[in-house]
């Protein structure tokens, strides 16, 4: 077991990487080689508490490792979650500055705006859809604080699931209008399609990711809350961002999201 002081130290270590925009060695390299997933979430909670104390506000949770490929790569059978804060939001069509980040990558996702609290365990995707007010397209910018995006599962959990920036689309739609598992998306950079996928790439259906989130939160007595705006996981692979990139995500029926990368 790791004590509260050690949890705080590791949280400070990771936040310093984010604030100073520099890579840090993964926690399991030297600081705590035997870090567990549960301890990873305790560190994440400490980081969340620190940000809330600074006056930051939570927009909603986000899901990570929701694709079969990523779960196999990390050898896990459950996704992970982290939290998106207000300071991470970029306006649709806005700019993402490389100097604010370490080695950002972008992926296309569907976001859910929750209309009623969802409390696990035993929540299903269908229940999530019934309690979803609307869905909207999003581009998530992940930026692991670890060297070369190289981490183990407890490391990435501790690092707030690599959460960094989010661009939400500006049109919301009712989820009943869609079969979200077959909503197609393309991710283009400077006019060239780099990645593509459909909703089913997220645990078979994006609503399944929100259901899993509710069930995971239930283990610590928490729930998905009315008003949460939740990123459900990537439909596409992640693409490394470079200066002057014009990034466009197109989603069938949901619309487009874009941003430009600057120095």
């Amino acid at each position: 077991m790791v004590n509260a002081t050690a949890i705080k130290e590791i949280a400070n270590y990771l936040v310093a990487g984010e604030v100073e925009k520099r890579e840090v060695k993964k926690v399991t390299a030297h600081l705590k080689p035997d870090l567990t997933v549960e301890e990873g979430y305790r560190i994440q909670e400490e980081i969340v508490t620190m940000k809330l104390a600074e006056g930051r506000k939570i927009v909603g949770p986000k899901m990570g490792l929701t694709s079969q490929a990523k779960m196999q790569q990390m050898n896990v059978d459950e996704p992970i979650y982290g939290y998106v804060f207000d300071y991470m939001l970029i306006d649709n069509g806005g700019k993402v500055s490389l100097s604010d980040l370490i080695h950002p990558k972008v992926e296309a996702e569907i976001a859910f705006i929750i209309g009623e609290d969802i409390e696990g365990p035993g929540v299903t995707g269908a229940q999530v859809l019934a309690k979803t007010e609307s869905v909207l397209p999003a581009l998530e910018i992940i930026d692991s604080r670890y060297e070369n995006f190289n981490f183990t599962l407890p490391d990435v959990v501790a690092d707030n699931a690599s959460t960094s920036r989010v661009v939400f689309g500006t049109t919301v739609k009712s989820p009943e209008q869609f079969e979200l598992d077959v909503v197609g998306a393309t991710l283009s950079i400077n006019g060239e399609i780099k990645e593509l996928g459909a909703g089913a790439a997220v645990l078979g259906h994006p609503a399944n990711a929100i259901a899993m989130l509710a069930n995971m939160l239930a283990r610590k007595g928490d729930k998905v809350r009315k008003g949460d705006v939740i990123l459900s996981g990537a439909l596409t692979g992640a693409v490394l961002l470079e200066k002057d990139d014009v990034v466009v995500g197109k989603f069938d029926g949901l619309g487009e999201v874009s941003f430009t990368v600057t120095d």
């Binding site: 079969q68 079969e179 598992d181 077959v182 909503v183 197609g184 998306a185 393309t186 399609i193 593509l196 996928g197 459909a198 909703g199 089913a200 790439a201 078979g204 439909l235 197109k250 989603f251 069938d252 029926g253």
Partner: protein, 262 residues
């Protein structure tokens, strides 16, 4: 010289037919003949198609292959290829692909175009294709190679009718104006488990663009696409190995589902 070429072509065409009939994969044609060109390979394909037509088969459409960047990179090419669809290749939605008719089958999800008017290249544009299309359908293509272990180079697969075997059409006929082809999503499941997802843009950016490519490429052989022809426009996700007992279902946005059993 001309006789020599003809003899070579006949031999290679025969070699492929033999493999198809006996279900014993052949060595790559390019192993015996490293200089085999793409144009010669199309001539071999056409020889075998003409032979089958002479035996009573009917050409019902075309298929486009190598439409994804991943497949083109794998074979080191920068254009797609095509093959012919014959009446015997159709499997009804939900039905079985007979084991004794395939060697090493793989499954892909695609969008099928049915034309309402002739498309004759050159200079066919994507817009021409949209105007000439009667409707689209969700499709499963069962590809198979008569070349042992799929050890194919571009001329091998072209001569082998672009590795065509069977195709299944399903769902409901949908007007092209009711969908955004580029963003049309699909999910492929095998025995109920998700295998991969895809989007229309996976086929050269837009499946209609693939059909335009086909019409223009066929013009080199003085062939046009006819009203009523079925055109499989190219895989939207990676091909998946099919084994005895497997059931594959492809679900498309807006178009419905199509499935096949092995």
């Amino acid at each position: 010289m001309a006789t020599e070429v003809t003899t070579k072509r006949k031999q290679l065409a025969e070699q492929l037919l033999q493999a198809e009939t006996t279900l014993v994969g052949t060595l790559p044609l390019t192993a015996a003949d490293p200089d085999l060109t793409v144009e010669e390979a199309y001539a071999i394909q056409l020889d075998n198609i003409n032979r089958k037509v002479a035996q009573g088969k009917t050409i019902v459409g075309k298929k486009i292959g190598l439409t994804s960047k991943a497949m083109q990179d794998l074979l080191g090419v920068n254009e797609p290829d095509y093959g012919h669809l014959l009446d015997g290749m159709v499997v009804e939605n939900g039905n079985v692909v007979p084991k004794q008719k395939v060697l090493q089958p793989k499954v892909e999800g695609e969008i099928a175009f049915v034309l309402k008017k002739e498309l004759k290249g050159p200079n066919v544009t994507t817009l021409d294709v949209l105007q000439a299309t009667d409707y689209i359908l969700p499709a499963i293509e069962v590809v198979d190679s008569r070349v042992r272990d799929w050890k194919i180079q571009l001329p091998d697969t072209i001569a082998d009718n672009a590795s065509s075997a069977f195709y299944v059409l399903g769902g409901k006929p949908t007007r092209i104006e009711d969908v955004n082809l580029e963003l049309l999503g699909m999910v492929l499941t095998k025995n109920g488990q998700l295998v991969n997802t895809g989007v229309g843009a996976a086929a050269l950016g837009n499946p209609a663009q693939c059909v335009a490519w086909l019409a223009n490429r066929l013009a080199d052989f003085d062939i046009s696409l006819q009203a009523g022809e079925v055109i499989l426009s190219g895989a939207l996700s990676a091909a998946v190995d099919a084994n005895e007992g497997d059931t594959f279902t492809v679900k498309f946005a807006h178009l419905g589902e199509v499935s096949v059993h092995f």
